[in-house]
């Protein structure tokens, strides 16, 4: 079996959004970085599928040189090798990202054969475009299912579960297919140190794609208003309970 998982390097934000001086990016001086949460589950799923079915797993990222950290993290969980499409750190819009990833997948498949499954995150934590995976799927002419919380592979098909209100929708698609997944698909393992050591030596193929002009262009970032609200303190400790219930009755909830 051959599985590809695409990941993105995103900052690990905390309490509030602080912009860099030019308002074109977040201030990342004191921030750590991670693989976007939905995709972490994609990596874990890919590793589990290869553990169960044999074969090879590959991780790919379009990102700055520092994104090698995220590739090594994925390989520490058990992914076999990595593809690094290196950028200079500037942001790529969804169409451009999809196009670069598509080229890389085509080149990879020409040499090594098709991927049974390509995993994407449902949306990236930062830009949240919701579209890169689907664009790639369309160009490859493969069926795509989004927002998955459950994936099972059986007899050349992928049984996919999508969480909806009140239950789960089940899709069955033939492989090769493209799946976008959500956090909750699984609980990613904690990487072992021997795994991290081995990851440091696994192969990474690096290339530098050229960024096409963007049709959707970011002009600037803005922290939304509304932060700086100060809550009305109804009291402290359990003695505040009557005030709370009074508030609830007023708004018609209790």
């Amino acid at each position: 079996m051959r599985v590809l998982v695409c990941v993105k390097r995103v900052p690990f934000t905390g309490g509030k959004m602080v912009l860099a001086a030019d308002s074109m990016a977040l201030e990342t001086r004191h921030l750590g970085f991670t693989i976007s949460p939905h995709e972490e589950c994609g990596v874990e799923e890919a590793v589990r599928l290869i553990e169960a079915n044999g074969g090879e797993s590959v991780v790919l990222t379009l990102g700055p040189p520092e994104a090698i950290e995220q590739l090594r993290d994925a390989m520490a969980l058990g992914i076999d090798r990595a593809i690094h499409l290196q950028t200079d750190g500037a942001e790529w819009d969804p169409e451009a990202s999809a196009s670069a990833i598509l080229d890389a997948i085509r080149a990879e498949e020409e040499t090594y054969g098709p991927f049974d499954l390509v995993f994407f995150g449902n949306e990236s934590a930062d830009s949240g475009g919701f579209q890169v995976g689907l664009r790639v799927a369309q160009a490859l002419g493969r069926p795509a299912v989004t927002g998955l919380k459950g994936v099972k592979v059986a007899g050349g098909s992928a049984h996919c579960e999508q969480e909806v209100d009140g239950g789960r929708d089940v899709y069955i698609v033939p492989m090769p297919a493209v799946l976008t997944v959500k956090e909750g698909l699984n609980l990613p393992r904690y990487p072992s140190v021997p795994g991290r050591m081995r990851a440091g030596r696994k192969p990474v193929a690096t290339s530098t794609p050229t960024r096409p002009p963007a049709r959707l262009e970011m002009l600037r970032l803005v922290v939304p208003p509304g932060q700086g609200r100060r809550a009305e303190v109804l009291g402290s400790g359990p003695s505040a309970a009557p005030a709370v219930v009074e508030m609830m009755r007023k708004i018609g909830v209790a």
Binding site: T13, K16, M17, L26, P37, H38, P94, E123, A125, D126, G128, F130, Q131, L134, R135, A137, Q138, A139, A144, V145, T146, G147, E161, Q162, G166, R168, D169, V170, Y171, V173, K182, E183, G184, R215, L216, E217, M218, V222, P224, G226, Q227, G228, R229, R230, A231, E232, V233, L234, G235, S236, G237, P238, A241, V244, V245, M248, R249, I251, G252, V253
Partner: protein, 327 residues
């Protein structure tokens, strides 16, 4: 003229779709709506024409088919923009439209202004950050972030036109094979009018009993923070946050959660937030409407007890209505 995909359940249009219609109207030109499967009444929402697509293959959701229909209709009408709600389904379908038609797509927008170039503001980080952007496209594709636009009604003479789209077999290949109900029933987190969430401060899996009690008394659902899910105390389906479920209750009671941006991104739609936290300086205090400072392990049971006492003492109050008032 803008074309809007309207999602519906049993003939009732979804709130996010109605919010989208409101935004689309500001884009200019007569607004046309596409509904799949069943007609809906959009006469109060300023829609010039509602196109209802009826096809045997559409009894269960098939995203490629929806995308094909939306695309074809937009061609037929020479729409100047296509809108949909930024729900899971809306984003799914629109991304496929964008891919099929080779057009850019801006998801989760909160405002759009027409012109040579479209200027828009969209959500990043689940809404914790905004991006101002411009789009060059012959037919802008936009999804509208749910619960960011207030629904405004507008009367119109709406024509309803049923049609049967031409669909290729390939477009129906990806479709819902079956729906599995989640066991237990209970109140769905995404739809609940009251949500009570617990975070690290709850302390353990068993500690959630008091949270469940309060939620039960209020007819609400139980939510939790990402830390709680990662610690294995509650299933991921209970997680409220950017990568969990996005909720929009009347009242969101947040217990022992400090208020990280990724959590707040999940409850942007909450009308009112009550924070219960021992730290008066926690970030949640800057995002909440009401607060009680102290130990949640004492406060939450006290509130439950107070509710019971109030109910016993006073005339019974109406239980929270499942449907509730819109808007």
């Amino acid at each position: 003229m803008p074309l809007v995909l309207v999602e519906q359940t049993g003939g009732t249009p979804s709130d996010p779709s109605l919010q989208t219609l409101t935004l689309a109207r500001s884009f200019g030109g007569p607004v046309h709506a596409l509904v799949i499967g069943q007609a809906v009444d959009l006469s109060q929402h300023g829609v010039a024409a509602t196109h209802v697509a009826v096809h045997d293959g559409l009894d269960s959701f098939a995203p490629d088919a929806w995308a094909a229909i939306l695309g074809q209709l937009s061609d037929r009408l020479s729409a100047n923009a296509i809108f949909a709600a930024g729900t899971d389904r809306g984003n799914d379908v629109m991304a496929r439209v964008a891919a099929r038609m080779g057009l850019p797509l801006a998801t989760n927008c909160i405002s759009v202004a027409s012109g040579d170039q479209i200027h828009l503001t969209r959500q990043r980080w689940g809404g914790s950050l905004l991006e101002e952007a411009r789009m060059r496209s012959p037919r802008p594709l936009i999804t509208v972030a749910p619960h960011t636009v207030v629904i405004e009604t507008a009367s119109a003479e709406t024509k309803v036109e049923k049609f049967t789209p031409q669909l290729k077999e390939q477009e129906l290949a990806v479709r819902v094979a079956e729906r599995v109900s989640t066991k237990g029933g209970g109140v769905s987190l995404a739809e609940a009018k009251v949500v009570v969430s617990g975070g690290r401060g709850v302390g353990s899996k068993e500690g959630f009993a008091i949270i469940e009690e309060l939620a039960g008394l209020l007819g609400g659902a139980v939510g939790c923070s990402r830390v709680v899910t990662s610690a294995g105390w509650r299933p991921h389906s209970d997680q409220v946050g950017q990568t969990g479920t996005k909720i929009a209750p009347e009242l969101y009671i947040v217990c022992g959660i400090s208020g990280a941006t990724q959590h707040m991104a999940g409850c942007k739609g909450a009308k009112r937030i009550l924070a219960i936290n021992s730290d008066a300086e926690a970030p949640i205090m800057l995002n909440a409407d009401y607060a009680v400072v102290g130990d949640l392990k004492e406060i939450v049971p006290a509130i439950s007890a107070e509710i019971r006492a109030a109910r016993a003492a006073h005339a019974p109050l109406p239980n929270p209505l499942p449907g509730g008032e819109r808007g």
